[in-house]
């Protein structure tokens, strides 16, 4: 079969089983768009800005586990995609980004819409390819998908010069079924000796804790993590990226850890004698001040990426491998072991943890006359029976969603953890809804974040992706304001917007339903109404208490045991209302 480069790309995507491409046309990809026009197997989703394309593909990937596919043109198309590529890179999301490039003979001549995409994307991709020979195109696409989805996943850019896709030049096409690369062999199973040592340490523990992260979600190891944890009876804490990998309603779950984690999770970490870190990377938002991190603990660390091990925190027993496989290996050894977890020590440990739980670190003023953002998330949880896909942007609303929506399943909580990209939530929700048209998809956002990619409301209409946007509108960049309150004596430098659009009118202008909510008693009925409108995107503009802060909190330079808890409740806020 002889095909042009453009046809080869489309055929390769079909052979790879790609369902959707998120993209935006332009000069360098016109041949490709012509090939898209002439087929209907791979569906193209036209976004309104290339950043939206990357986040939508990212949301699709996070929800399904399949790689997201993006197509952008050269120059500004490529640079606009960078934020979304970096977002996927930081959270290890499989993504293949096809960028157009100027024709080979003019590369390097500062041609119209030329940018060195290979150079610009290099620090934020798992790998990238510049295609210089059309006969290598199919193989390169195969490699891109292989690299993006195997090992520690990540985004891969394939930069394709325009002349490579020339419809007049046809070459034989064959898509490789399998590909091997001599320079790339990700580890699979863990080292047996290390696993044995880990089991010995785990079973000898008096104050153990299981600290699991996004790697468990990415590695589809949620069932194994749950079995492993139940077998041992040890407390489990999840990172922001790991939420849902272990059921939040399970009695062994002690909440998220880290900067805005629960008091009990952070205290448990601090006092523990053995930590098993599973698919987590000791991020600075998790560890707090490194010198103060878990002073009494021996640490076991399972990760597919050797470079994640002992990067910030020195570990005692490293195990490199896929978390799923390693957990299976651990479960088998624990089941076969004569030594059992120390019942007495564990009982004392759980008693201690229950005392920390009794602090009720997530309590807030439920009698306020203003809408408390926490209340909105709790109501969202109830109205969706805890079974929605929830995307978020970045800031206070993100933390509240993580704290108050109890995720029982993996891939339900979709947020930009590592890069912290405002503007992620809305396009990501579109990607999720395309993957799961029957599911409830909510985008929890704020009035600052939503404006960063709000143009995608137009995409949501065009492709009929009825999502529910819960805009926690506090008329501040809340997280910035919170830090300014705590560390800059309430000098609110540019964390306030003087001209916030009428979101209800804006949503309507985009062809959606807009509802404004001002009072606590309106929250529940509005949410019910919104989710009952199955075929409409609904924008809920929720006017919340603008002085509310995210608690508890580990402030900069402090350790897990030194959390700032909520003190007086409700007083200042209702004063403002009056």
């Amino acid at each position: 079969m002889e095909l042009s480069g453009a046809q080869i790309l489309m055929q390769s995507l079909k052979d790879e089983g790609v369902e959707y491409i998120f993209g935006y046309p332009g000069g360098a990809v016109l041949h490709l768009y012509d090939a898209i026009f002439q087929q209907d197997e791979v569906k193209h989703i036209l976004v309104r800005h290339e950043q939206g394309a990357t986040h939508a593909a990212d949301g699709y990937a996070r929800a399904t586990g399949k790689p997201g596919v993006v197509l952008v043109t050269s120059g500004p198309g490529a640079t606009n995609a960078i934020t979304g590529i970096a977002t996927a890179y930081m959270d290890s999301i499989p993504m293949v980004v096809i960028s157009g490039q100027v024709s080979l003979p003019v590369i390097g001549s500062d041609a119209f819409q030329e940018v060195d995409m290979i150079g610009i994307s290099r620090p934020c991709v798992k790998h990238n390819f510049l295609v210089k020979d059309v006969t290598k195109l199919a193989e390169t696409i195969k490699k891109a998908f292989y690299v993006a989805t195997s090992g520690r996943p990540g985004p891969v850019v394939v930069d394709i010069p325009k002349d490579i896709t020339d419809p007049k030049i046809k070459v034989p096409y064959k898509y490789p079924k399998k590909i091997t690369m001599r320079s790339y062999n990700p580890a699979v199973s863990g080292h047996k000796g290390q696993i044995k040592k880990a089991v010995e340490l785990l079973l000898a523990a008096q104050k153990p804790v299981i600290y699991s992260g996004g790697g468990v979600v990415l590695g589809e190891a949620s069932a194994e993590l749950t079995e492993f944890s139940h077998l041992l009876g040890y407390p489990v804490t999840n990172t922001l990226m790991g939420l849902g990998a272990y059921p939040a309603t399970d009695k062994q779950f002690i909440g998220m850890l880290g900067m805005h984690g629960s008091y009990e999770a952070n205290m448990t970490m601090h006092e523990s004698d053995v930590i098993i870190a599973i698919g987590a990377r000791f991020d600075d938002r998790v560890t707090g001040k490194l010198d103060l991190f878990c002073p009494y603990a021996k640490i076991i660390h399972i990760d597919i990426d050797p470079a994640s091990i002992s990067k910030t925190v020195k570990v005692d027993i490293p195990i490199v491998g896929e978390v799923k496989q390693v957990l299976e290996q651990l479960i088998e050894l624990i089941k076969g072991s004569k030594v059992k977890p120390n019942k007495k020590a564990l009982e004392a440990w759980w008693n201690q943890i229950d005392q920390w739980r009794a602090v009720q670190c997530l309590e807030y003023d439920r009698d306020s006359l203003l809408i408390k953002p926490q209340y909105v998330i709790e109501q969202l949880y109830e109205v969706t029976q805890g079974d929605a896909y929830v995307t978020s942007d970045v800031g206070q609303h993100q933390m509240w969603a993580a704290q108050y929506y109890r995720f029982d399943k993996p891939r339900r909580w979709i947020n930009s953890g590592g890069l912290g990209t405002m503007g992620f939530g809305l396009p990501a929700a579109i990607g999720v809804k395309l993957a799961f048209p029957e599911a409830n998809v909510a985008c929890v956002t704020g009035e600052a974040s939503i404006q960063m990619c709000i143009q995608e409301l137009s995409t949501a209409l065009q492709y009929k992706t009825p999502i529910k946007i819960i805009n926690l509108n506090n008329r501040y960049m809340g997280m910035v304001r919170q830090w300014q309150e705590f560390t800059y004596e309430s000098r609110y430098s540019h964390s306030y917007m003087d001209t916030i659009p009428e979101f209800v009118q804006l949503a309507e202008a985009y062809g959606h339903v807009g509802i404004r909510i001002d009072k606590p008693e309106e929250v529940r009925p509005a949410l019910e109404k919104a989710f009952a409108m199955k075929d409409r995107t609904v924008f809920l503009d929720v006017i919340t208490d603008r002085t509310e802060n995210v608690y508890p909190m580990i402030e900069a330079g402090k350790g897990h045991h030194d959390m700032k808890l909520r003190v007086a409740q409700g007083t200042s806020t209702d004063r403002e209302l009056a």
Binding site: I118, G119, L130, S183, A307, I309, S310
Partner: protein
């Protein structure tokens, strides 16, 4: 401590920039870098000299291994190895100094590659310290330019870095 990391890498455009970019992005330091194709034209070999604590060097080798184009690498300092660097020095000469420079070059087993009425180009090969010593032995006023390849190295014995 000083480490010599020897890397086998796919001989593809942009491969070197991945290595160099990794060092600048993560704040590691490169003292020297020598690159050339190997006997297998699809592979290049990079010899990279860097300094850092054990933890930093461990991260450097792990991060380098993570690069898709990197096939294999070793830290030569971990075992017995031979290190060589090539240097060419252009020196101003006069009737009075020529003999002295010639004998100095002899002592360092150097070669004189180019002669003009007013200059010599001397080639010296050896471990980096020997090259330093030669430069120190020459009157700095007379040095026109110094070109160094950066060290390359190979391990002793049968074992080697290959596919």
């Amino acid at each position: 401590m000083r480490h010599i990391i020897s890397i086998l890498i796919e001989n593809e455009s942009g491969a070197l920039s991945r290595v160099a970019g990794l060092f600048s992005a993560r704040g590691y330091n490169i003292e020297s870098l020598a690159v050339a194709v190997t006997e297998d034209p699809s592979l290049s070999r990079i010899t990279l000299v860097t300094r850092g604590s054990e933890e930093v060097i461990e991260q450097i080798t792990k991060q380098l291994n993570k690069l898709i184009d990197v096939v294999k690498l070793i830290d030569l300092v971990e075992s017995d190895h031979i290190e060589r660097e090539l240097m060419m020095v252009k020196i101003k000469t006069s009737e009075h100094t020529r003999a002295e420079i010639r004998s100095l070059a002899d002592i360092f087993r150097g070669k004189i590659l180019d002669v003009t009425p007013t200059s010599y180009v001397v080639e010296i090969t050896g471990p980096s310290e020997k090259l330093d010593a030669f430069v120190a032995a020459i009157d700095s006023e007379t040095i026109i330019e110094v070109v160094r390849s950066g060290p390359t190295g190979i391990s002793r014995g049968e074992k080697g870095l290959h596919l």
